[in-house]
Amino acid sequence: MSDLALSRLAEERKSWRKDHPIGFFARPQAGADGVANMMIWDCGIPGKDGTPWEGGLYPLTLKFPKEYPVKAPLCLLPPGFFHVNVFDNGQICLSIIGDGWKPTISIKQICLGVQDLLDNPNPNSPANSSAYDSFKKNKAAYTEKVKQQAKKFPPQES
């Protein structure tokens, strides 16, 4: 395992604790033995106020490869998530964690990037055909579906 990955993740954790955006959470997953697994993080992304995503706290999982930060983490929302740019398995299609990845991008920036993507889908790279069709052809139904989904992810204790 790369020292750089672990030491960088330790710094990311420190800096998140020191300062993070309101309503978000991000922490390494607790393993079965109670020891934190630094390579997998559980995060919560709140929908922005004033958007149909409001009221939801969306669970985001970050899986860090051993080459991190040279390689981006795999960023997953729950499987079957309703969003134009989220694949069936929950994988998010977003440039900053894809082709546009930079090793200097922080976990905070990833979380903010995902929050921003929620209400600003990119129709040029659809990953989810039902969300895409509905977004293109029936905005009202799309919005309703998003609001229903928000209710499925109420804020939890963090």
Partner: protein, 272 residues
Amino acid sequence: MGEVYTADLDQLIRNYDKLAQLSQNQRYNILQSALSLAEFDETSDMMAQLDTSFLETLYIDSFITAYKADLQSLRQYIESRNAAINKIVITNTISIYFYSRSLKRGQAQQAAVAQMRDFQEFITHSEMIKSKITPQQLANLRKNREFKELKHQIWKVNHDEPYQDQEGGDQNGDDEEDIVLSSQSVNIICPLTKKPFEHPVKSSVCGHMFSRDAIYSMFRNNAQTQCPQIGCSKAFSKSQLERSVDMESTVKRELRKRSRSQKDPDNITDLS
């Protein structure tokens, strides 16, 4: 004949480059000693001695630069072959020394080159040069930008307030500006490790700085890497990364400041 000469001269010119490098290394070592010394006693007599050694290397540098320029013009001259070689005007003595020596010895220029390769000879010359340095020349050298930078760095070890240039100096304000810029609070966090820089290196392509080991790991088996800085689209190779001595001392200074203000409640280490 001309070819032999220019090959020899090229060798000599390269030797001067090496000497300039040695001289620069020497200044770097003096800087490091001065910084360590400043932590204990910035007013010690040894500090004044280090100052003088630093100025002497700058003085020698001016010779190295002059010799090299002479050699280069001599080389150009030989190449153009417009006049008799022995009419060339060479302004400083050591060049004349080598020049006349190679003329006298004819085929034996190689020997002169070999001797020049031996830095011992130059060191003897530098002692000669140093012994001739006048107090006025020394005083003038104190206005040299590199020397001012040295004094400024030493100052930063123990002082937060801006450096007052006690050397007097020029009115054009260029140096002033340098000092103001570098005394502003500097980011000492590597964007890759998110920790204070360790062995900071700077990309000569775009100026972005990283901890050496972290940026090296970006290369893996490639000759080049994209600059990892957000918003930077440049690529560079390992050889385009330069050690940043300035950042090294900035990090040292900042960490020292922090450890001094450790009781500061803003500076709690996180326990949660």
